[in-house]
């Protein structure tokens, strides 16, 4: 569904992505795992046409309007409340406004519908950003570190929502620097280090390949073995 082949991206003299190749299959949760600065956001920006690649090819198997996004900034209108934020996009997509309330319900924010964004916690804002991403029932979701900076309980809530979306037929492409998140949530992961994919596959299988199965599959151990650096 989402494919990248031999993609290279440079910023000036710095090569940020070198010959990145992977494929995310339909209806799976694909995780791009790597430490800060690895090039994860750059890959999402290229796939969502916010950036051009210098060479290589890619496709996302859906029209732009069939995609939903969470970027590294939430882009919310801070003085407006939750439902007002969503209604703007419901109007732009030309879908009925009750969909805004449905989306809020889906992320557990129905009680806070009238709450202004600048009065909400980071976790609530992330959930609202997710609600905006799923408002128009997209086929493909791009989520850039959807649970980063959240406490474990709130992060688990977001994970559950993402799992539900996938169960309901969406293809999810997410980035993370958290290996637990990758192991628990993703059907398939690619490990990214300094703009290169150093390994990819089903989490448990990757760990087996690299003798990194403890009590739980340990992707972090694989990462350290391959790159010599830790994730966080």
């Amino acid at each position: 569904m989402i494919k990248m082949s031999q993609v290279v991206k440079r910023f000036g003299a710095q090569t940020v992505l070198s010959e990145v190749t992977f494929e995310a299959k339909e209806r799976e949760i694909f995780g791009l795992l790597g430490p800060s600065g690895a090039g994860k956001t750059t890959i999402i920006n290229i796939l969502t046409k916010q950036l051009d690649a210098d060479s290589g090819s890619y496709s996302i198997g859906a029209k732009m309007l069939e995609t939903g996004l969470m970027l590294d900034a939430d882009g919310l209108y801070v003085r407006l409340n939750c439902v007002e934020n969503l209604n703007i996009f419901a109007d732009i997509y030309g879908i009925p406004r009750y969909k805004s309330l449905e989306a809020l319900k889906n992320v557990g924010l129905e009680e806070s519908a009238k709450k202004a964004v600048n009065a909400m916690s980071k976790g609530m804002r992330q959930r609202l950003a997710l609600a905006r991403a799923i408002l128009h029932e997209p086929k493909v979701l791009f989520l850039d570190e959807p649970a980063s900076g959240l406490d474990p309980a709130t992060a688990r809530g977001i994970h559950k929502l993402i799992q539900n979306l996938c169960d309901n037929g969406a293809t999810v492409f997410l980035t993370t620097h958290n290996m637990e998140e990758a192991v628990k949530l993703c059907n398939y992961v690619a490990l990214l280090h300094k703009g290169k994919i150093v390994e990819q596959g089903v989490p448990a299988e990757i760990c087996e390949r690299h003798n990194a199965v403890k009590t739980v599959p340990d992707l972090e151990a694989v990462f350290i073995k391959l790159t010599g650096v830790e994730l966080e």
Partner: protein, 231 residues
């Protein structure tokens, strides 16, 4: 069309929660009202409409440059604009939705100025015509500045001096002939010309303001092209 409407509604809801911007539409008419009542009415040497026309010219020329640039720079800084573009909104729909709302709000303020002033009927029409087109020019100039900026701080440090220059050039032009020659091409100068002497023909001023609008729209397009989604 529905995108323009959605953005227009967003601005309408937002302004009442954004006192820093809202005050720009209120403060100058209030100053004009107070000065007119307290100073102009009790002083025979001062033309009764002097403060109204002075404040109106400042409002149309300068007030909205900073308002529009700040609002757009905020959308860029928080990446709200990026989400709109990804949802299929074009930069022109964004400009028309945002600028259109501020033009309406600016028109309301211009009407208040007209009510405070002691204008004859045809004077009122001329006053509103130049105020509304002038407001449009300063909004689009502000939009171009906002689009050029990375964040609100950058927009202020670029927008303020630009607003001051376009706003005060007409005043300097009254003392300096060289400046006066150059000032003629500026929309702010044309606003001043008309509000200070309603006997002049509107055709030339309106044409010059329209030319300013074209140039500023071009600047806006250029700024967007340079930045694209990467900003």
């Amino acid at each position: 069309m529905r995108s323009i409407k959605a953005i227009f509604i967003k601005q309408a809801k937002d302004i009442f929660k954004n006192p820093m911007v809202l005050v720009l539409f209120i403060i100058l008419p209030v100053v004009a009202l107070i000065m007119t009542q307290l100073v102009a009415k009790s002083n025979d040497d001062i033309p009764s409409n002097m403060f109204v026309t002075m404040m109106a010219a400042i409002f149309a020329g300068m007030g909205l440059v900073t308002a529009a640039s700040g609002v757009i720079a905020e959308d860029i800084e928080r990446k709200s604009l990026r989400f709109l573009i990804i949802a299929g909104v074009t930069p022109y729909q964004y400009l028309i939705g945002t600028g259109g709302f501020y033009l309406l709000a600016g028109t309301a303020t211009s009407v208040v100025f007209a009510l405070i002033g002691d204008f004859a009927f045809t004077e009122t029409l001329k006053f509103l015509a130049i105020m509304i087109t002038g407001t449009a020019a300063s909004i689009i100039l502000g939009a171009a500045i906002g689009m050029l900026s990375k964040n609100q701080q950058a927009a202020t440090s670029l927008g303020m001096p630009v607003a001051v220059i376009v706003g005060f050039t007409p005043m300097i032009a009254t003392f300096n002939e060289t400046v006066a020659k150059v000032a003629g091409v500026l929309y702010t100068q044309q606003i001043n010309v008309v509000v200070n002497d309603f006997s002049v023909s509107l055709a030339r001023p309106l044409l010059i303001v329209a030319a300013n609008i074209v140039v500023f729209t071009f600047l806006f397009a250029l700024a967007y092209k340079k930045k694209g989604l990467k900003g």
